[in-house]
Symmetry: C2
Subunit: 75 residues, 2 copies
DNA sequence: TTGTGACTAGAAGTCCGTG
DNA sequence: GCACGGACTTCTAGTCACA
């Protein structure tokens, strides 16, 4: 399982859990709407900075976000 | 405290804890020595992928690495 | 052993739009 | 509400010679 795939899964999952559209999430993260789409379609390898902003929007710690990635990747 | 600063601190700290030079760490990470130097001098915002590779070289989980960043940044 | 400038290639990330 | 694309700018990845 690739990192990009795990990221895609976690973003979609958390975004929907919070009942947000891509656009709403983008706004919260101070990002472009199409960039969220790119991440969910596994087209980008985000910087750590992006992970921190996304985690914040999901009201979780970045390490929790990363832990979810590890679980999905079986690390 | 900026993310780049926290990254710099953790890398230096863990590298020295393991008694490694930048060159030795670079070799373990499959990276160039000067790139490690760039990170330690806060000249790059690394991708998550880079964080995963570095954590692996320190024999720690990426989430542990990120947790250290949070602690330093008081998050 | 590390800092640094210079560099290229390509990726990150934005902004416009369409179906 | 989202996938997808083109065009674009900014920045990272990665390397080298040299101080």
């Amino acid at each position: 399982m690739e990192l990009k795939e795990a990221i895609s899964i976690v973003i979609k999952q958390e975004r929907k859990k919070n009942g947000m559209s891509q656009e709403e999430l983008a706004h919260l993260c101070n990002m472009d709407r199409t960039y969220i789409s790119l991440l969910e379609r596994k087209k980008r390898n985000p910087t750590l900075d992006v992970i921190f902003r996304m985690s914040n929007s999901f009201q979780m710690k970045p390490s929790t976000f990363v832990k979810m990635l590890e679980d999905i990747m079986h690390l």
